[in-house]
């Protein structure tokens, strides 16, 4: 089975591995960066890596506030972060 898939992050096609979480794919294909904005406007990024803190929430295939650390990458996945703004 091919381990590598193609997905889009903020509209940009990227190559990622099936065994990466979406949170990991975001950082591996760009840089350590904020993925969401807090209620006060601050940039935030993954903290707990295990579904506790909700700091890594992004939109995945149209589902808002999905914990990107808990979802594995899939072919054709559409991920939206605040990436465009950074």
């Amino acid at each position: 089975m091919n381990e590598w898939i193609t997905m889009t992050i903020d509209g940009v096609p990227v190559r990622a591995r099936r065994d990466w979480s979406v949170a990991v794919a975001i950082w591996n294909t760009s840089a350590v960066r904020g993925v969401r904005r807090a209620v006060g406007g601050e940039l935030r990024a993954p903290v707990c890596g295990m579904g506790v803190c909700y700091e890594c929430c992004v939109s995945i295939d149209g589902r808002e506030k999905a914990r990107s650390c808990m979802v594995m990458c899939r072919e054709g996945m559409d991920v939206r972060t605040i990436g465009g703004e950074v």
């Binding site: 591995r17 065994d19 990466w20 979480s21 949170a23 990991v24 794919a25 950082w27 591996n28 840089a31 350590v32 960066r33 904020g34 993925v35 807090a38 209620v39 006060g40 601050e42 940039l43 935030r44 990024a45 993954p46 903290v47 707990c48 890596g49 295990m50 579904g51 506790v52 803190c53 909700y54 700091e55 929430c57 589902r63 506030k65 650390c69 808990m70 594995m72 950074v86």
Partner: protein
């Protein structure tokens, strides 16, 4: 909604949950094991393909345990039977069982300091989980910061994957940490592990009795870190920081069910029984003990839940392993200075952006929720609740359902169900 019936329900598929589920199933009970993650193994065996994770996964399969992955359990009720409700991929899952084993694990204690919300600051276990989930750390400069033995294997993992570990900063003094040696010398396997780790971490600058002052942020991410020992200051350049101050048991579901606590963990007797009839607890949620304790407690809980004889050796093994962990606890006791790391505008509740200053003036956890929405956001106080409990000595306990965020549509499905209308044994539909 899918409905699953089994004699035993196990929540959590880490070492304790798997061990418990296997113990029950190998003695003939029908078992369903639920876990939020995509794969069994918990945090410690996340992404691990070889033994012991592979062995335990194979055992759950051959024993006939029904594994339900990707399910977040959001409510549970016990009384004349066990009912659990979970959500997965927008749908709901209902479990009816006769008995329940909770193995909900632990999370990290994060503590606020200046800049701790900057992208690139994670937990120590958070960094570990990210690396195990594929994070590329090659040539990244990493600082590990905070307290506890977890720092060592995570530093070794980061280094093995090509990171430059710039420093390891432990708040406990060297003299205190040395107290572990006595306990280590009594457990040869731990001693060997410790020596291997020391070798893997040779050359990494170590700071003992130091703690964070502030994160240096540039362009919205970590660029560096400043630390102090109360007298001097030092700073580093880095891109990633793993910072946490120990582990706290996950007891939210147990609280909702009405189990009594002992300290921060669930109260259990010698046979892992909780205060609620028909409910057992094993692993970190019954008290931080590490993987060896978790596996033993899981087996004890499993045997107890199916009414099987419990091998005395198991009980003795567990008690010995617990004694070792108690020694670790004393060695890494948190210093009072950590309570003063953040006193003002630093964020305490990351979901609602309530500051330390705002929460500090409140009278209680409930008051903080009412006054500044602390603990009212997506994570439902999982991060800030432990912080508030540590900083202000508050009792933080939330009994109300749901125990995790649920969409209204899913919540309505759950609420429309009479909890015990169809409890007992039945076919999977």
């Amino acid at each position: 909604m899918i409905t699953i019936a089994a004699e035993i329900a196990v929540v959590g598929a880490g070492p304790a949950g798997m061990s418990a589920a296997v113990a029950c199933a190998e003695r003939g009970a029908s078992v369903v094991m639920l876990d939020e993650n995509a794969e069994s193994g918990g945090q410690i065996w996340r992404g691990m393909r070889d033994a012991p994770a592979s062995v335990w996964r194979a055992r759950t399969v051959s024993a006939g345990v029904r594994v339900e992955a990707g399910v977040s359990v959001v409510h549970g009720e016990v009384g004349g039977g066990v009912s659990l409700w979970g959500v997965r991929d927008g749908g709901t899952v209902r479990v009816n069982a006769s008995r329940l084993i909770l193995a909900t694990g632990a999370r990290e204690l994060m503590l606020p300091f200046n800049g701790w919300t900057t992208p690139g600051v994670m937990g120590i276990g958070g960094l570990q989980a990210m690396i195990k989930s594929g994070l590329d750390v090659r040539d990244r400069r990493v600082v590990l910061l905070g307290s506890g033995p977890l720092m060592h294997p995570v530093a070794a993992l980061a280094r093995e994957r090509g990171a430059q570990v710039v420093a390891m900063v432990e708040q406990a003094s060297l003299a205190r940490q040395m107290r572990v040696l006595g306990a280590l010398s009594r457990v040869p396997t731990k001693m060997i592990q410790a020596i291997e780790l020391m070798q893997a971490l040779r050359g990494v600058p170590r700071y003992s009795g130091w703690w964070p002052v502030r994160v240096v942020a540039e362009r919205g991410r970590v660029a560096g870190l400043e630390i102090t020992n109360g007298v001097k200051r030092e700073s580093f350049e880095c891109e990633m920081i793993g910072a946490s101050f120990g582990l706290v048991p996950n007891v939210r579901l147990a609280d909702a069910i009405g189990c009594e606590r002992s300290g921060g963990a669930m109260k259990t007797d010698a046979f892992q029984r909780t205060s609620v009839d028909g409910v057992w607890c094993a692993g970190e949620s019954a008290g931080i003990g590490g993987v060896d304790v978790a596996v033993l407690e899981g087996e004890i809980a499993g045997c107890a839940a199916v009414g099987a004889d419990i091998d005395r050796q198991l009980l003795r093994g567990r008690d010995r392993a617990r004694a070792f962990v108690a020694a670790l606890d004393r060695a890494y006791a948190l210093r009072p200075e950590l309570r003063a790391m953040a006193g003002g505008d630093e964020i305490l509740c990351r979901c609602e952006d309530a500051s330390v200053a705002q929460v500090r003036v409140c009278e209680s956890w409930r008051d903080a929720k009412l006054q500044c929405r602390c603990g009212m956001g997506e994570c439902q106080g999982r991060t800030c609740g432990s912080i508030a409990a540590y900083l202000f000595g508050w009792e933080v306990r939330d009994r109300r359902a749901p125990t995790a965020p649920v969409r209204v549509r899913e919540l309505m499905q759950i609420m429309s169900e009479d909890p015990f209308a169809e409890s007992g044994q039945g076919e999977v539909r």
